[in-house]
């Protein structure tokens, strides 16, 4: 479903993403992990069509993003890490606006909007300005908008940021359900427990390069830590000390 080949992004002299290649199969949830500044968000922004790659190729659902950006965007839903929205629209108006941008028509349009607002527990606040929403509510609104047009692939940057435990559980359940119905999810996260619980495969990016990818069992094997938690495996693979004891000695 998502094919990325030799993807590179340079910002002046810095190679934020350096020849990254991976493939995500239909119905698969792919976790994209890495330390801060590793190139996760830059990769995600390129997949969503916000940034243009310096080199490389992105193909989603058989369509080249560079050549057919509009068709690709029609099939993709994007959830950014920071929920910037139109503060002066109500939640319902924002959903309606997104439905129009994705050209959703027919009688099911309003029903879908209402069902998603209810699903994400926003129906009660639908007629309030987005400016008065909490961080978690905005995040849920963005998620419902991203799923509204029935995308075939979902690109998510840090899905659980700002969500309370109830919201986080809801999102996990939705992702699992959507996966069963064939939706492909590419998501970056720092929450390793969520990656372990949700993702079929995980890729670890560090300093712009994709270090390793595989199932959690394969990553443990690669790190030589078969029985360790994913956190230790991650730290080992990204070159950090196991617990940083020496660095925090001065405390």
């Amino acid at each position: 479903m998502i094919h990325v080949e030799n993807l590179t992004k340079r910002f002046q002299q810095v190679r934020a993403v350096d020849e990254v290649t991976f493939h995500v199969a239909p119905g698969e949830i792919y976790g994209f992990l890495g330390p801060n500044g590793a190139g996760k968000t830059t990769t995600i922004k390129m997949l969503a069509g916000v940034l243009r790659p310096t080199a490389g190729r992105i193909v989603i659902d058989g369509l080249d993003l560079e050549k057919e950006p509009i068709e690709v965007k029609r099939r993709v839903g994007f959830i950014p890490d920071r929920p910037f929205l139109y503060e002066k629209l109500t939640g319902l108006e924002f959903m309606s606006f997104m439905a129009d941008l994705y050209r959703l028509n027919g009688q099911s349009r309003d029903e879908r909007i209402q069902r998603f607002l209810e699903l994400f527990e926003l129906a009660e606040w639908a007629r309030e300005l987005v400016g008065s929403y909490s961080h978690g509510m905005r995040q849920r609104l963005i998620m419902s908008a991203a799923l509204l047009h029935g995308p075939r692939a979902l690109i998510v940057d840090e899905p659980m940021v700002g969500l309370d435990p109830r919201g986080a559980r809801l999102v996990k359940s939705i992702f699992k359900k959507l996966k069963r119905s064939g939706l492909t999810v590419f998501m970056s996260t720092h929450t390793l427990a969520i990656a372990e619980e949700l993702c079929d495969r995980i890729g670890i990016i560090h300093k712009g390069r994709l270090l390793v990818e595989g199932t959690t069992a394969e990553l443990r094997e690669l790190a030589g830590q078969e029985d360790s938690p994913l956190e230790s495996v991650f730290l080992r693979l990204t070159g950090a000390g196991p617990d940083g004891e020496e660095e925090i000695d001065f405390l």
């Binding site: 969503a48 069509g49 916000v50 940034l51 243009r52 509009i70 068709e71 965007k73 029609r74 993709v76 994007f78 950014p80 920071r82 910037f84 929205l85 139109y86 002066k88 629209l89 109500t90 319902l92 108006e93 959903m95 309606s96 606006f97 997104m98 439905a99 129009d100 941008l101 994705y102 050209r103 959703l104 028509n105 027919g106 349009r109 309003d110 909007i113 007629r127 309030e128 300005l129 400016g131 008065s132």
Partner: protein
């Protein structure tokens, strides 16, 4: 100690912009400096000439200069108070870093001191911008010695402190009554209304009568009636009384009023500190509440609970609907329409007040000449309004621009929908200016058609320049949309719009003159003249099409490479 630490981020930010900004920042700073210098020179020349003129008026000249100085100080004081309230709302209640600062061990007194200094610095630029050339003109006209300039500093510093302390005190009290966001909106609206009122008052006072000997006797009577010092409790009066003896020998000592201003400044700061210490904690917690848009309650179509139970609309329709709602729900946006309304009224009033009958040229010739030049003037007005509303249209997407980037929408469609959104209102405005001023001037039938037609096509170019250049130089991080056009892109837009208008006027001037003179003299036109006229108007059409197509394509191209 913490006070300097709290002020440091501002200074570091400025230093980093200078250090890392590169050539573009230098060009921007250079352009702004050039504009400021031009502005200073303009104001200086106006005031210098007015004061020299006053000096030539026997007996009354000094009184006029004195009154003008007191008006300058009074105007500054009013504007400073207003500006200090708006700035203090931001520095004490709405600034994004406050959440972090309140979590640190900074005492309230230290926070007050730091934010007070910031408030003074942010709100006093206006006095520097307008004051320096005015006070220099006074100094040069009345040959002020070094004592005048030192006295000026000694008066202006406490003057700014009084205004800032009063502004901060009023802000602290206002926030007790209303949430800070709502207070800012209401004050913004009031400031716009105040601006409109001042504009009307100034214009309807007909200052041009000052140079009209027929009206002069009444002006003399007016100033005689005002010869006693006015409003003795206002700091503006004390400032005038402190400065005037340094320019003209009087019986009053400058030092007395200087001491008075300094003492008042000290007292105002003490009061401000006291009020802040008592009220700030409660005000800060209130400032976290959100307000509801004012206009939404006035216009039913904008009310928050309606308008979504319908079938879908096209992408352009959705974008225009969104822009309409966000514009009218933002009090800082729609309220500026009041300024435009005032501008139109005064613009048309100017035409009704033109003393055409006293001119030496034939009236019919002058009427038509003015009507033709009015095309350029109306174009200029439209370009200026475009700078405020059309140029920031793309930047208005702000941090939400990612939605446009990730949805199945071409940037061309986005820009053309913005073009369509602003074209209608600008067309209406342009045609009102053209048709109404022509009616007031009672121009010939030919001019009655030419001006509206020219403006009609010009509006397409001006709108496209605004959208295209705004897309080429977007500022998605601007907190205030009014600031978007003050940057380099806004300057470039104004220059291009002015050049476009000038080109259209120049291209039309020759053929219009030929046609007009032929009609006035009753001579029929020959084939070469018709070819010349036809060619010129065809060129005007080409220029108009280019003014639409080129900036829009440039904007789409530049915006598609935007990476933010």
């Amino acid at each position: 100690m913490h006070v300097l630490t709290l002020l440091a981020p501002r200074w570091w930010g400025l230093k980093n912009v200078c250090r890392l900004g590169g050539r573009r920042t230098l060009v921007k700073a250079g352009s702004l400096l050039a504009i400021t210098l031009g502005f200073w020179v303009g104001i200086f020349i106006i005031f210098y000439r007015v004061l020299r003129y006053f000096q030539g008026v026997e007996e009354l000249g000094d009184l006029l200069a004195y009154k003008l100085l007191s008006m300058v100080f009074l105007t500054f004081f009013g504007l400073l108070i207003f500006s200090n309230i708006l700035v203090a709302l931001s520095t004490f209640f709405l600034s994004r870093d406050l959440g972090t600062i309140h979590a640190t061990p900074v005492s309230m007194a230290e926070l007050f001191a730091a934010r007070f200094v910031e408030t003074i610095l942010e709100s006093s630029w206006m006095v520097l911008l307008f004051g320096i050339p005015i006070f220099t003109a006074y100094g040069l006209t009345y040959r002020g010695a070094a004592g005048y300039y030192l006295g000026l500093v000694s008066v202006i510093v406490p003057y700014l402190i009084i205004a800032a302390a009063s502004g901060v005190t009023v802000t602290m009290l206002l926030v007790q009554l209303l949430p800070a966001q709502r207070t800012r909106d209401i004050l913004f609206l009031l400031s716009v209304l105040l601006g409109v009122l001042l504009y009307f008052l100034f214009r309807f006072m007909r200052p041009e009568r000052l140079v009209d000997p027929d009206a002069f006797t009444s002006v003399v009577a007016y100033f005689r009636a005002l010869s006693a010092p006015s409003s003795p409790y206002l700091p503006s009066t004390w400032a005038t009384e402190a400065i005037w003896p340094l320019l003209r020998p009087t019986s009053i000592s400058s030092a007395f009023y200087q001491g008075f201003i300094w003492m008042t400044a000290a007292a105002a700061v003490v009061v401000s500190v006291g009020v802040t210490l008592v009220t700030y904690p409660h005000g800060w917690s209130k400032s976290q509440e959100a307000g509801r848009p004012m206009m939404a309650r006035l216009l039913g179509c904008l009310s928050l609970g309606t308008g979504c139970r319908r079938r879908g609309v096209s992408q352009v329709g959705a974008l225009m609907g969104k822009d309409f709602k966000t514009f009218f729900r933002d009090n800082t946006q729609w309220s500026q329409l009041l300024l435009i309304a005032a501008l139109v009224v005064v613009y048309l009033y100017n035409y009704s007040a033109l003393p055409l009958d006293r001119a030496r040229m034939p009236t019919f010739y002058l009427q038509n000449l003015i009507s033709f030049l009015n095309t350029g003037l109306a174009g200029f007005v439209l370009a200026a309004i475009g700078a405020r509303f059309v140029f920031p249209a793309v930047s208005a997407e702000g941090s939400s621009f990612w939605i446009m980037q990730t949805s199945p929408l071409t940037l061309g469609r986005l820009l053309w929908s913005k073009f369509a959104f602003y074209l209608g209102p600008l067309l209406v405005l342009g045609l009102v200016l053209a048709i109404a001023s022509n009616a007031l001037l009672q121009v010939s039938a030919f001019m009655r058609w030419l001006t509206p037609f020219t403006i009609f096509f010009m509006v397409f170019g001006i709108t496209a320049l605004g959208i295209g250049m705004g897309a080429a130089f977007p500022n998605f991080r601007a907190e205030n949309l009014a600031q978007v056009a003050t940057g380099f892109g806004g300057l470039l837009y104004m220059l291009m719009a002015m050049s476009f208008i000038a080109l259209v006027i120049v291209l039309e001037a020759g053929p219009v003159y030929t046609l007009f003179m032929a009609e006035a003299r009753g001579h029929p036109l020959g084939m070469p003249q018709w070819l010349y006229i036809g060619g010129s108007f065809a060129l005007v059409l080409v220029v108009n099409v280019a003014a639409v197509w080129l900036p829009m394509s440039y904007g789409i191209r530049r915006l598609s490479t935007f990476e933010g």
